[in-house]
Amino acid sequence: MKKRSATDVLPAEGGLGNEPLLTVDNLHVEFHTRAGIVRAVNGVSYSLSAGETLAVLGESGSGKSVTAQAIMGILDMPPAVIPKGEIRFHGTNLLTLSEEGRTQVRGERIAMIFQDALSALNPVFTVGWQISEMFRVHRGMSKRDGMKKAVELMDKVRIPAARQRVNDYPHQFSGGMRQRIMIAMSIALDPEVLIADEPTTALDVTVQAQIMELLAELQRESNMGLILITHDLGVVADVADKISVMYAGRIVENAPVHDIYKAPAHPYSKGLLDSIPRVDHKGQELYAIKGLPPNLLDMPTGCAFHPRCPYRQDNCVTDVPPLYEISGVRSSACHYWREVLDGSRG
C-alpha cells in the first residue's frame, strides 16, 4: 500500500460529513514478548464526535491505555503489533498513514495527557520551553513569541503568576500545577481530539475536582472531542456524555452515561456500578466483583468474563459474544444482556 501523508488526505477542521470525528473499529493490539503473545486489545470499537466526552472505564490492565496509545501512534512497534482494526480520523485510517503524516496529526490535531505529570514532563527543560516547543516546531514561531504563547496558555489553565513561573522547571511545581502544565501543552494547538489517560489519578481529591472542571471547561470552549480514561465512576457521571466499558481488551458495553447509570446491560458494568460506595447504602458491605482479571497470555474461552459472571450459562464458556446492538447508541457484549438489563431495572 502506498503511504500517504496527512495533509493529502485529511480534510481541514470542520469538514466532517457523516463520519464521527474519530472512530476506533475492531482494533487489535498484541505485544510479542518472551513469555508469549500478550493480547492487550482484542477488538475495541468506539467513536467520538466533536464536543463529545467519551469515558473509557475498566479495571487495571484492561487495555485502556494501549488503545489510547494506538490512537496516538506512540506504541513501541515492536514489541507492539496491530494485526487488525482501523482508527479513522475524519474518515482516514491513521494506521496506514505514513510516519510523517502521523507526526502531523500528533499533538497538532490529536493530543494526549498522561497520568503522572511529573514523569511525563522533561525534567531538564523549563515548562515554558516545553509548552512553547509546540509553537516553535509545529508553527515555526520564534522563541520569544512561543514564550508569550506559553504564558497565555498557563494563564488559561489558571496557573498563578504565569509570567514569573514560565521559566521554572517541572519539579518546582505542585502535582496539580504540573498537570495543568500538561494540559496547557496538550491544548496548545487547539487539537480536535484530546485523550486524557487518568489525568487525576495521581492527585488528591480536591485537586482532582479542579482538574476535571478545567478539562470540561476547555472542552466546552473549543468543542474538542474528549476521551477520558478513568477508574473513577464518580467523576464520569458529571462530565461524560457516553461510556465505553472495557474488560480484558474488549469493549463490553457502550452506552450514554445516564442509561448505564440507570440500568447497565453487561454484568461487568453492573459489577463496577455496584462497587461504588453510595451514601444511601451506608453501613452495608461494599460489593466487589469476585475473582481476578484474566491472564492476557492465557485468555478464558468464550466470553472472557465468564469465570467471574453471576449470569453465566453454558454457551458463555464456548461462544464469544459479539457486541449486541441494544439501541442506536447502546450495545453490550453479553449473550444475556436482556436479563442483565431487566435485572438491574428491577
Binding site: M72, I74, T103, Q104, V105, R106, G107, E108, A111, M112, F114, D116, S119, A120, L121, N122, P123, V124, T126, E133, M134, V137, H138, Y169, H171, M185
Partner: protein
Amino acid sequence: MGRYVIRRLLQAIPVLLGSTFLIFCTVYALPGDPVMILGGERRIDPVLAAQLREQYGLNDPLIVQYWNYISGVFVGDFGETFQGVQVADLFAGKFQVTIQLAVTALIIEALVGLGLGLYAALRRGRWQDHAVLALTLLLVSVPTLVSGFVLQLVLGVKLKTELGIDFFPISGTEAGWRSFLVPGFVLAGTSIAYLVRLTRTSLMETLRADYIRTAVAKGMPRSRVLGRHALRNSLIPLVTYLGADLGTLMGGAVITEAIFNLNGIGQQLFQSVARRENAVVVGVVTVLVLVYLLANLIVDLLYAVLDPRIRYE
C-alpha cells in the same frame, strides 16, 4: 554558586593533606635507603652519608619530614631532588606533556565512546549493536602494552613505509598535537569501552522514560526527540564518568608514555620511585590529586548546568 565553589575548594584541603600524607608514608616505608641508592654500585663514605641525611632532614621523625615538605608545597615549593634540581622545574615541561596526552585521550574517549554508545543504543538488538559490543570486549581485553606497540607499528611505521602517508609520528612530541593521537587512543582504550557501554545503557534507559513518550505524543520529529529530549538526560551520568576518568588517564599514562617515548610525568614517576626521590613522588601525586579534585569540581558544576533539579548554594 560562588560560595559552593569556595566551600568545595576548602573541602579539598583535608583530602589533599590526607592523600599526600598517605603517599608520603608509603614512599617512606619502601625498602632501601635513598642515600645508599644515590651511590649506586659504589659504597658511599659513611661520613658523607650522615651529612646528606642531616642535610635532607632524613633523620627527623616522619611527621616532621612531612610537615617540612607540605608547608613548602603550599607556597609552591615542591622541594629539590638529591641532585639539587628543583622539583617544580622538573615538573614543568613533563606535566604539560602528560596533560596534553590525557586531554587528547579524554577527547578521543568522549567522541568515540559517546558516538558508538549512542549508535549502538539506536540500533539496539541489530547486528550493528552486537558489533559495537564485540568491539568493546576487544578494547577491554587487549592490554595497553599490546595495543600500543601494534598501533605504533601499523600507524606510525607501516602507514608511512607501505602507503607513504606520514601523518602519525612513531614517537616523541615533535609533531605537535599529531604526536598525541595514537598514544591518546591507546591510553583511552579501556575507558572507551566502558563509556560505550555506559552511554548505550543510559540512552536506552532514557528512551523508556515517560517524557520521551510525551515528546512523541507532542508530534516532535524523531530527530528532535532523540537530539533534544533524550540526549541531555542521558548525558548526565556520563559526565561524571568522563570527569573522574581524567584523573585515571593521567595516573595511568606510565606505560603509554614509555611506548611512545613521551617525556611525561608517568616516566618521571617511574624513575623517581626507583630512586626513592620522595620529594618528586609525593609532588607528582599531590598534583595528580589536585587535578582529580578539580576535575570532580568541574563535573559537579556541569551537573548543575545539565540537571536543573540540582542546585548548589
